[in-house]
Amino acid sequence: MKTGFASITTGLVGVILASTVVVLLLGAGILLQENLHRQEQKFRADLRLDLFLRDDTTPAELRELADQVKSLTGYESFEDQDKAEAYARMQGTLGTQLLPAGGYNPFPNSLIVTFVPKATTFQNFQSAENRLKSIRCVEGIRYPKASLMSQENIYSFFGKAAILLLLLVAAALFLTMWLGVRRIALARKEESRILVLLGANWKQIGLPLIGKGLTIGIAAAIAGLGLLYLFWHLSSRLSLQLSFITGNGIAIVTACSIVAGAISAIVAVRSQLK
């Protein structure tokens, strides 16, 4: 039997529109979080640990140091750079003759260690420094201590804020859908009561409402992601270099929307059948 309620159709459209706005916010939150994460990965990928070696380092000491370096957490590779190479590189960068021919080269021999991005944390660099600084052949250790600390603080703060925001938006999405589906259910409450008196079971009352919840979830996900794409496209014209959300992000937004729609409908059905 058809519903025949104009108010239910209006209510359905209203809930879809309201949910679309919240899904859009959820998508925008995920987009910002993903871009922040990408930025962090990029920052971390450029981080190196420079070990400056004494001029009198023996090959045996160098081998021992290499073994120690290889055992560091998150170790990826190392590059051995001798002082002549370091000097040549600096000279090439500056484009001028830095030293008189045959003069003393003050640049040290060095070992440039790279780590996997996950391991390029301040804590890991500090622990590596503590382990290696006592080795005799190591004259000095360098990594961007100050900037790494401040960047980590920034990423940590914004990362936590983004997760909190996403949780709040997800809760708002559920609340929006629940209130909307509940309103639709309430509009049908009297009809449902009569149908139950006439022999309808919970499936006949509940499944159409759960169907509506799923419809709201799917429609809001499609409309919300469509709007997000539109806004992202417009933002790229404003020189905001943000990447659109990944497949995982799209899946999370869609799943949140559909699950919120289904759960809110089930909650509304339960209250209606009491």
Binding site: I194, L195, L197, L198, G199, N201
Partner: protein
């Protein structure tokens, strides 16, 4: 041979303050029989109806429908029970915003019959109460008498083994619906009628009994 449809044994219900709404009600309704349950307003007729359709649990007593208990362990499900009963309520309980046809078919649709059977039986029932011409109209356009007749059509379309009616004192209930329900007994239905008094216009039905509530 008569089959037992409905059995009530010493049924009693209390209100929120613990005062009795109905007490010691017992009867057996067989197929093809008619039972009038009469009594003044407040004597517990509607309460008894609610107990029979599993809308209200009795405080004491036992009920069974076709030998199956209604409230004990392993009892018949509420929706299954209601699909086997046609009820005319004191209030019309019509689906507002739906057509006359949809309302007449509302109870029948849950019995699992085919669409063609649903259409045929519904139109036949509407014809019996002279509402065929208004089948596609909204129920809000019907008069109160027509709404009562539509409630009757909903029961006629369903052709349930047990028919229960909670009748008003209005003329259509007493002079049209009650006699029509009594004729259903001759088709093998068990008919249970709740009313303030037994209708005087009713022709002699196959097996008729009266239970008076006080």
């Amino acid at each position: 041979m008569t089959d037992e449809l409905l059995r009530l044994e010493d049924i009693g219900c209390l209100n929120d303050r613990g005062l009795p709404l109905v007490e010691h009600v017992s009867f057996v309704l067989n197929t093809g029989a008619i039972l009038w349950v009469t009594g003044p307003a407040g004597s517990g007729k509607t309460t008894l109806l609610e107990v029979i359709i599993k809308e209200r649990r009795p405080d004491v007593g036992k009920l069974s429908f076709r030998g199956q208990p209604l409230w004990d362990r392993g009892s018949i499900k509420r929706s299954q029970l209601r699909r086997q009963i046609g009820v005319i309520f004191q209030e019309d309980y019509l689906l507002t915003g739906h057509t006359v046809f949809e309302n007449a078919a509302a109870a029948l649709q849950f019995t699992g019959c085919s669409l063609s059977v649903l259409r045929d039986q519904t139109y036949q029932a509407l014809a019996e109460v002279s509402l065929t011409a208004k089948a596609e109209q909204g129920v809000h356009l019907l008069s109160s008498s027509e709404k009562r007749l539509l409630s009757l059509a909903r029961v006629l379309a369903k052709m349930a083994p047990l028919v229960i009616a909670d009748l008003n004192t209005c003329e259509v209930d007493q002079k049209v619906i009650a006699p029509r329900l009594e004729t259903l007994a001759s088709y093998g239905c068990g008919v249970l009628i709740f009313s303030k008094q037994r209708s005087q216009t009713t022709p002699k039905a196959p097996v008729t009994a009266e239970l008076m509530l006080r």
